[in-house]
Symmetry: C2
Subunit: 567 residues, 2 copies
Amino acid sequence: MIIDNKHTALIVKHKSTLEEAIDAVKTRKNWSPYKDSPSTKIHGPEKPVAGKSAFEAHLNKPFNMDLPGIIEWVGEEISPFTQKPIGITYPLCDPESIVFSAKKNMKEWAKASPELRTSLCLEIADRMYERNFEMAHSVMHVTGQSYTQAFSGSGPNALDRGIEALAYAAIAMDNVTPEAQYQRSFGREQVNLEKTYTLVPRGVALVICCASFPTWNAYPAIFASLSTGNSVVIKPHPIAILPMAIVVDTCRTILTEYGFDPNLVTLSVDTLAEPIAGKYIEHPDVQIIDFTGSPRYGSYLESTITKKLLYTETAGVNSVVVESVDNLTDSMRAIARATCLFSAQMCTSPQVVYVPKEGINTAEGHVSFDEVAETIVSEIDAIAEDPKIASGVMGAIQGKVSLDVVAAATDMAICEGLSILRKSSPYKHPDFPNARTLTPLVIAVNHEHKEMYSEERFGPVLFIVAAESGDSAAEDATELAKTKGTISCYMYSTNEYFIERWVDVYAQVGANLTINLTGAMWINFAAAYSDYHVTGLNPAGNACLADLSFVASRFRIAQRRRPIKES
Amino acid sequence: MIIDNKHTALIVKHKSTLEEAIDAVKTRKNWSPYKDSPSTKIHGPEKPVAGKSAFEAHLNKPFNMDLPGIIEWVGEEISPFTQKPIGITYPLCDPESIVFSAKKNMKEWAKASPELRTSLCLEIADRMYERNFEMAHSVMHVTGQSYTQAFSGSGPNALDRGIEALAYAAIAMDNVTPEAQYQRSFGREQVNLEKTYTLVPRGVALVICCASFPTWNAYPAIFASLSTGNSVVIKPHPIAILPMAIVVDTCRTILTEYGFDPNLVTLSVDTLAEPIAGKYIEHPDVQIIDFTGSPRYGSYLESTITKKLLYTETAGVNSVVVESVDNLTDSMRAIARATCLFSAQMCTSPQVVYVPKEGINTAEGHVSFDEVAETIVSEIDAIAEDPKIASGVMGAIQGKVSLDVVAAATDMAICEGLSILRKSSPYKHPDFPNARTLTPLVIAVNHEHKEMYSEERFGPVLFIVAAESGDSAAEDATELAKTKGTISCYMYSTNEYFIERWVDVYAQVGANLTINLTGAMWINFAAAYSDYHVTGLNPAGNACLADLSFVASRFRIAQRRRPIKES
């Protein structure tokens, strides 16, 4: 009874947020229940300090979590800012025990009303927002994201993506009436049936998180599966566990508070040496898999998994077509900022900029290819050369792999005699002298170098391609999107005929397109509720954040019917 | 302009039907825009005659259809009522040409508004309803369905399932706003973006139809894919082509009338000797596959197809649990009728009836297992022994395979010393003396014979299992559902505690359950808009007719955004 009252109160508490979220995904307007700035004007002076302390309290000790089947404690996270281990260990569990426990009390969870399950997820989101300063530092020190980016991008912006998925889950579940009366005559007989429709979850859902931006894709997957009645096993990347451990800790606390089994959400860590994901993927009780990570593993999963739901977001080669601009500096600054943001370790970072080799028109007159390229470089320099700005924008390099990518691209450019417009080098981080940093490498190429620029390079490498023309640039960009995959494409053109000619082609190849965006908004910012993320039409992933397709299959419908007794 | 006016008129024409269908799927009430009785009181005296003539006009000649890449003309359909070839040949086409043509003008179709595409599908449904007497004879003479069943089950009932899918497609597409304004401040800058969201179809959709009930699953698949902008290739079973040829003919006529490429819907026939489906399934442009047919091939597809959408409905072992009844005769008659309907060649036909070996309670007192079994048999006899009733209920046996199934079951029963309660034998069809008919075989078994009764047998074979108790019966029935798959389960019990104890278990194993239904309505009748068909939770298929999950992934969303010009 006490539990029942708590449940009702929880539903009431989150009702208006859910309604507003549903309105937001339908109108696709700007909306969020949260603030994505870490400003003390919003949060007061105590929260930032408390959050930092909470993060520091995790360091150099085991992260306590009472998970089933603990085998040993492991942890190999290294802060990209200190380049030292953060010293946290986590329980490594036996997959069989995790899945068994995840399934054990799923029926009770499935019996909870959709409203309750959705509200509990919203409560998780609220608590995570409360812990967001702790989260910001945690994300920062395992991924290399700058403090402000970690706060917003891995906090409210990520929670918003989760709530967006919840809104769709609510819509999809609400579409199934729990009961109906069916009245029809068969011959001279009037038949009256009562029908009951039960939402049945699929089973255990596995969420495989990426290393560089773990929360952003995890929240939607977790909330979509959990709200539709499934239990969730979260498998973080071994180099970025802490943020997901905090999420799982919060989920388990709230589940327990509301009388549910905490094992409905579990954490399954592994090590770089012994990956564990395959054991879950092959487990017959695991029926849903959400994967964010490398195109190679994503494509392997897409090619091998059958009879289970699989949602992927991987990566591709994002391009910018510069056909003509109003203001050269503004446009090139927008591209430069996107290139610098988190040192291009984002799935929306541009890698290829096409500029017609004969130059482009601007409001100030014609400018040459070289001038366009130089403006991009100088705008990157403006960020890179100011350590305070650089640290806020670029953050640090998470993995050695990105250093290797840049080194390999530099070597390749030298070997092939390409023109290196800007060398990549570390910038001096003002707060963390040992931070692993790297500013963008910029290489000028032409279409003969297609093999080089069209290979996905996960790190700060930008190719500026001298295209035959604006149209050939767009043709190449869309072909690249189709064959290599893309998540975000960009276009600058003052020629409406040009834009009109190409927007449909971009849509056909599943390339979400940002046109002529300059100014304060990052061109590669994707806003939950408003921007669909990943189309599923090219190799960059099969799932969209978020649409009905992302949620509608995570539960099934079983029905029963019987005659209504005449009274 | 003329075309545009026609398009607008078409949308207006079907607007209220679509709205009513959407209301029906949400409320799950009884509804249909059509009448499913062939009575001349409804249709007048001319339509039945004209429909029969239209059917007869097809016989013994090529079915003209101007398809791309015709290689040869083939046809091997045999009427189960005359056991003679119907003599129609159809164009067998090169799959490469079919897919090329299907894709060629898909972009224009994708550009048509969702309302227009949906309305065009509704127009197809209306025209098929107009051709329904022709369809009834056509279905009858390739499948063996009785005239009345062919008229209703393969006519309005099937069209309703198609319109149901259309309603969901409309809901899913309507959920994506075509455009939005996004306004938010970044720092001190106010950003105003206009966003455009484009629905992009997946590609070419393949619909593989089953032999015994081709239209019922085909309409939902065709309409779901076509309305969401995909083109459709229909691959009928080689022994049941004519109904689908009529559907394709109608689709192509209407597409042409409204200014679209008729090749958006094509027919791809093959022969028993040289199946062609694999060539489409492997084709990279084929992105959606709907399959209805054997569990063996369905399971093969489910285990091998990756990176494409696959929707299956196959079959399983449907069971009846008889725990206790009000009126013995009424309940056993309901089971007997379901067993007799189309000689159990339906995906909802019961194959196993569990009766406690100690007998059951009825309102008239306790009755023994033998009495229950004898009542089922006598109710089957009542149908089988009256040729007029038998012909209306059982129709004819479509394939030799079902004769073999019955023969093998009989042999098995004799070998194993099982008790054959009722032998299977032909009944004399009043109108077609050469009809291939067969009445149900009824075998009494106990739980030791589980391997025998739990194997799917496609034909009129009914096992009556002497169960230890009602609970052990329900336990076995739900375990059977889980392991062998089921589409419809049935239960008779006057004990509410018993019912309450088991309904959730049935739901968990994805068994749709009909409880205590007797009287004029066939217990295995599944009504579009009201009854969900197939749960996707057991081996009987992965797709549900119809829910949001059936439609939501058939299109994707591509977006573009750009700053709004200040005016």
